[in-house]
Amino acid sequence: MVTTANPAPAAGSKVNLVGLERADYKGNPSTLCQGCGHDSISSQIMAVAFELSLPPYRVIKMSGIGCSSKSPAYFLNRSHGFNALHGRMPSVVTGATTVNRDLLALAVSGDGDTGSIGFGQYKHLLRRNVSMVYIIENNGVYGLTKGQFSATADVGQKLKYAGTNELPPIDLCMEAIIAGCGFVARSFAGDAKQVRELLKAAINYKGTAVLDIISPCVTFNNHEDSTKSYSYGKAHEERLHDITFVPKFEEITVDYDPGTTITVKLHDGPAIQLKKLDKEYNPTDRLAAIQMLEQAQAHQEFLTGLLYVNESRPTLVEVQHLVETPLVHLDAQRLRPPPEALAQIMAGLA
C-alpha cells in the first residue's frame, strides 16, 4: 500500500530546464502486477515529463477506474491528480481544463473505461476538442475486475459464455478520427522509444491528442484462465495451481523500424502483429488514415505511429472565446458584477 506522498528526489541525477531531477517526476510505488504494460507506460510518462522540463504544477493527472486508471498515482507525485468515476474522466477533464486553460491534462484510461462505459463521453469529448493528452492503455480486457473481455477484444477470442467472440472490436483510433479528433496515434507499451516520441508530440498538440497504446495484461490475457477464473465446477484440465495465483513476468520490450512489421509473443502464448508506419506516410490525409486502419484490421495487425494529424480545428476554449487569463484566476471584481448592473436589470423588470 502507498505510504509516502512525496518521496525525496534521488541524489546526484542531473537537472532539467526547470531545475528538477528525474526523481521529482516519480510517483508512488506501483501496485500493478509485475510486468504489466501499464507500468512501462508510466515510466515513459515520467521520462518525457522530465525531458520536456514540464513544471509539475502545470500538469493534472486524470483518470477513470481500472488498473490503467490507477497508474496516475505511480507518476508525477508533484502534480494534482483526479481518479474520477468509471468511464467519466472525459467530463471531469472538460470542466477542469475549461476553467484553467493553463493546465496540461495528462489523462490515462483503459479500453473498458473508454470503450465500454465511457464510450459516449469519449466521443463527445473528441467532438469538443478539449485540450488534453488522452492515453488509452489498451489490453482488451477488464484487468481490475479479473479478466472479462472488453469491447476492444479481437474477433476470434473466447468470450466467457457465448463461446468465441463474434463481436467486432471497437477501434478507438478509428472512432477518434471519425469523431474529428486532430491527433490520433497508436503504439505498443513495450516500444519505449515510440511511446516517448508520440507522447512528446501529443503534449505539444493543442487539442485532444489520443494515444491508444497496446498494453498487454500479463495476468488475464491468458484467456483459458481469465475466462475461467472464479468459475464454478468447470474442469481445469491442466491447472496445477490456484486460480488466484498471479505469476510474475518481465515487461515485454520491442524496438523495430518504421515501415517494418514485427510479431510480439505475449506472456500467455498468443502473439500480436505490430506494423510501424513508415517515414513517408502522410498523416494529414483523413481518408487515407481511415483506409489504412480498415486494411490493418482486415489483416489483424496493429498499425503503430502517428495515424492522423489536423492542426486546424479550434479547441473548446477557443470556440468559447475565453479570456487568456484562466477563469480560476479572475479576481472578485471580474466575477461579481457591480451593484449598478443589478439595479439596471431590476429597473427593466419594474
Binding site: 504544477y57 502545470r58 494534482h80 481518479n83 470542466g95 476553467v99 477563469l327 458584477p337
Partner: protein
C-alpha cells in the same frame, strides 16, 4: 379546467342582484398550445401590475409543442394572495377541445368570453356570455395571414380590458415593454386590442360583477420568474462555469444564465468571455464537468430536473465523498420517472438528500420565492466552497416558470466566501499539507488547487478510501475516521445553511411547516384558518440538513402539520427522523396531482382534523 373535480365541489349558486367584485377574482385563458397566448397573458399581468393591483400568473401547460390544451390563470387579489385558486370566475374559452369542460368548471355567475362561432354542448344558464366575432376581428386587424392564429389572442386582451376596466394605457405600455418598444409590433397587437374593446363596448353590455380598480399595492416591486431569478443570483455569485443538458422545467434557467452572462461577463477590452457554458451530451457529463471545474477552483453549476438528478446519482456521491464544491439546481417536476414534465411537485426532497449509494448526505437549499431563488443563487456557491461539497438547490416548476411579484433583489450583503483554499505561500508557511486533516475541528479540511506551485501542495483526489494525506487506504481506522469527520462536517453544515423563517403566534396551538412553492398557499390558508378561529404559527424550512430552530418550533406546538407537494410526505419523514420524540404526532398533509397547492386544500385538510371551537384535535 384542469382540475374539474375539486372545482365543482366548490361552485356556489349565484345570488342576484349581485354586488361588484373588485380586484378579487381569477381569470383563466384556455387556449391551444402553440397558438402563442403568452404575449396576451403577459400583457394582462403587467397591465394589472402597473395599475398597482397584486397579480400572479400560472401557466398550466402540456408536455407538447403545439396542439394540446393549455391553460393560463391570472389571479387578481387585492389582499396580495398569489397561490393558485381552484375556482376561476372569468373564462376565456378559446380552445374548442376543452370548451365544454372549461364552461362546466365555471362557478355560478361566472363569465365566459368565447369566439362566436364556437359551439358548446350544453349551454349553462347561470353564466354570463360574451361572444366575440373573432374571425371578423382578425380579418380586419390587417395582420399577415401567417399571424392570424396568434393575433386572435389579443382579442381577449381587448375584451377583458373593456369588461374588467383595465387601463388601456397600461395595456399599451405593457405591450411596449414586452416588445422592447418596437413600434410596429406594439401597433399591430394594440390595434387588435382596441378593435375587440370597441366591439364589446358597442355590442356587449356588462352583465357581470367583476372588475378591477387602481391600487397602490405593487409600487417598487418587479415581476420575474424563479428560473431567471436563480440564474441572476448565480451571476452575482460569480459563476464562471455552467454545464447543462436541456430538460423541462429547468431549461429556462440556463437560457437566462447564458443571456445574463453574455450581457455582464465579457472582457471590456477584448470582448472575450470570462465564463464558459457547455451544453453537455447528458446529465452525467454535465455534473462531471461541474465537479471537474469545481475541483480546479471555479464556481460551477448545472441545472436539471428529476430524471437528470437520477442520472447524477453516482457523481453526487463522489462529490460528497471526495469533497468537491459544485451547485446543482433541480427544478422539480412531477415524478416518478418521466412523469408529468410540465407539472409541479416537491418530490425530490428525500431522494436528493440521500443521493448516492452508501451513507451519503447532501446539502440542499429550498427557495420559497423568486427573491430566494436569487439569494440562494449566489449563496449556494459560498456554501459549496465553504463546505467543499455539492450543494443542491431545489426549486420547482411553479416558482421557476411562472411570473411573480417581488421586491427588487438585494445585492449580496457579503463578499464571496471561497472557503479553505491554501495558496503556495500558505503551504510554504505550514511546511506541510494534508488534504483531509481536520485542523479546525469543524470537519472541513483545507484544499489546494491544481496549478499551485508549491511541491507539497499536490494531492490525489479519489472516490476510494483515503487517509488524511489523501493517500489510498483500506485501513479500517482510516475509513471510519474519515466517515466520522464527514459526519462532523454535515453537523457543521446544519449551522451554516439558511435557517428556517419562523412566524410564531402567541398562544397558537398548531404549527405549520412547509417549504418552497407551498409558501404562498400556506400564507393564504393561515388567514382562512384565523378567520375560522384557528390561529397558527408557521415555520418555513429553507435547507437540509435540518437544524435546531425547527426542533424548538416543534416542541413549542401541540400539533404540527407538514404541508408539501408530493405523495409520501418526504419532508414529513425527514422531520420525523430529526425530531423522533414527536415522530408519531407530527402530521403530514401531502398534495400530489401536478397542480400548485391551493389555500383551500390546506385549510380544509386542517379544519378536517382540528376543531377551532374546542382547543383540541378531533
Amino acid at each position: 379546467m384542469v382540475s374539474t373535480v375539486d372545482v365543482q365541489a366548490q361552485s356556489q349558486p349565484a345570488a342576484a342582484p349581485r354586488p361588484e367584485v373588485v380586484n378579487d377574482f381569477v381569470i383563466v385563458a384556455a387556449t391551444v398550445n402553440g397558438s402563442g397566448s403568452q404575449t396576451a397573458n403577459a400583457t394582462l399581468i403587467r397591465a394589472l401590475f402597473t395599475m398597482g393591483i397584486p397579480v400572479n400568473g400560472k401557466n398550466l401547460f402540456p408536455s407538447n409543442i403545439s396542439g394540446l390544451p393549455t391553460w393560463y390563470t391570472i389571479r387578481v387579489s387585492k389582499d396580495g394572495y398569489t397561490a393558485r385558486r381552484d375556482v376561476s370566475e372569468v373564462l376565456v374559452a378559446f380552445n374548442p377541445q376543452t370548451a365544454d369542460a372549461d364552461l362546466a368548471a365555471l362557478p355560478a355567475g361566472g363569465v365566459c368570453i368565447y369566439p362566436d362561432d364556437m359551439k358548446f354542448a350544453a349551454r349553462r344558464e347561470d353564466v354570463v356570455y360574451y361572444p366575440l366575432p373573432l374571425k371578423e376581428l382578425v380579418k380586419n386587424s390587417g395582420a399577415d395571414v401567417k399571424l392570424r392564429d396568434y393575433i386572435a389572442n389579443m382579442a381577449y386582451v381587448g375584451a377583458l380590458g373593456e369588461l374588467l376596466h383595465i387601463d388601456f394605457a397600461e395595456i399599451k405600455s405593457a405591450l411596449a415593454h414586452h416588445f422592447k418598444g418596437k413600434a410596429k409590433a406594439v401597433d399591430l397587437n394594440f390595434t387588435m386590442v382596441t378593435m375587440a374593446a370597441e366591439h364589446v363596448r358597442a355590442h356587449l353590455p356588462k352583465q357581470d360583477p367583476y372588475r378591477v380598480a387602481r391600487m397602490n399595492a405593487t409600487g417598487g416591486r418587479v415581476l420575474i420568474d424563479g428560473n431567471s431569478a436563480g440564474a441572476l443570483g448565480a451571476v452575482f455569485g460569480g459563476v464562471s462555469f455552467g454545464a447543462w443538458y436541456p430538460i423541462t422545467p429547468s431549461t429556462s434557467l440556463f437560457d437566462a444564465l447564458g443571456d445574463y452572462l453574455a450581457a455582464m461577463r465579457h472582457d471590456p477590452e477584448t470582448g472575450a468571455a470570462t465564463y464558459a457554458i457547455v451544453q453537455a451530451e447528458d446529465e452525467l457529463a454535465a455534473i462531471g464537468m461541474v465537479l471537474g471545474a469545481g475541483w480546479a477552483g471555479a464556481r460551477a453549476m448545472t441545472s436539471t430536473s428529476g430524471p437528470g438528478i437520477s442520472l447524477m446519482t453516482e457523481f453526487a456521491g463522489m462529490g460528497f465523498f471526495a469533497e468537491i464544491p459544485g451547485v446543482i439546481w433541480d427544478i422539480m417536476r412531477m415524478g416518478p420517472s418521466t412523469g408529468l414534465p410540465t407539472r409541479v411537485s416537491q418530490g425530490d426532497v428525500l431522494p436528493v438528500y440521500y443521493l448516492g449509494h452508501g451513507d451519503t448526505r447532501q446539502v440542499v437549499l429550498l427557495p420559497g420565492s423568486v427573491a430566494e431563488c436569487f439569494r440562494f443563487g449566489w449563496e449556494a456557491f459560498d456554501l459549496a466552497e465553504r463546505l467543499q461539497t455539492p450543494v443542491f438547490v431545489l426549486s420547482d416548476l411553479d416558482i421557476g416558470m411562472n411570473l411573480w411579484m417581488t421586491e427588487p433583489f438585494e445585492y449580496p450583503d457579503k463578499p464571496m466566501d471561497r472557503g479553505k483554499v491554501l495558496t503556495a505561500d500558505d503551504v510554504k508557511a505550514a511546511g506541510e499539507f494534508a488534504r483531509y486533516k481536520d485542523s479546525d475541528g469543524d470537519g472541513i479540511t483545507y484544499r489546494t488547487l491544481p496549478g499551485n506551485t508549491h511541491p507539497l501542495s499536490a494531492y490525489f483526489t479519489r472516490g476510494t478510501g483515503h487517509n488524511e494525506r489523501a493517500v489510498y487506504s483500506e485501513r479500517p481506522d482510516d475509513w471510519s475516521r474519515n466517515l466520522t469527520r464527514l459526519f462532523k462536517k454535515h453537523e457543521t453544515a446544519r449551522t451554516l445553511v439558511p435557517p428556517p423563517i419562523v412566524d410564531r403566534r402567541a398562544g397558537a396551538r398548531v404549527g405549520l411547516i412547509a417549504y418552497g412553492s407551498a409558501d404562498s398557499a400556506i400564507c393564504e390558508a393561515r388567514d382562512q384558518l384565523r378567520a375560522a378561529g384557528l390561529e397558527t404559527s408557521y415555520l418555513r424550512v429553507r435547507a437540509l440538513p435540518l437544524e435546531a430552530t425547527l426542533r424548538e418550533f416543534v416542541a413549542q406546538h401541540e400539533t404540527i402539520y407538514v404541508v408539501e407537494l408530493n405523495f409520501d410526505g418526504q419532508m414529513h419523514q425527514l422531520i420525523q427522523l430529526y425530531v423522533p420524540e414527536r415522530a408519531a404526532t407530527i402530521r403530514s398533509i401531502a398534495h400530489c396531482d401536478g397542480l400548485p397547492l391551493t389555500a383551500r386544500f390546506v385549510t380544509d385538510a386542517i379544519l378536517g382534523k382540528e376543531d377551532p371551537t374546542h382547543g383540541h384535535n378531533r
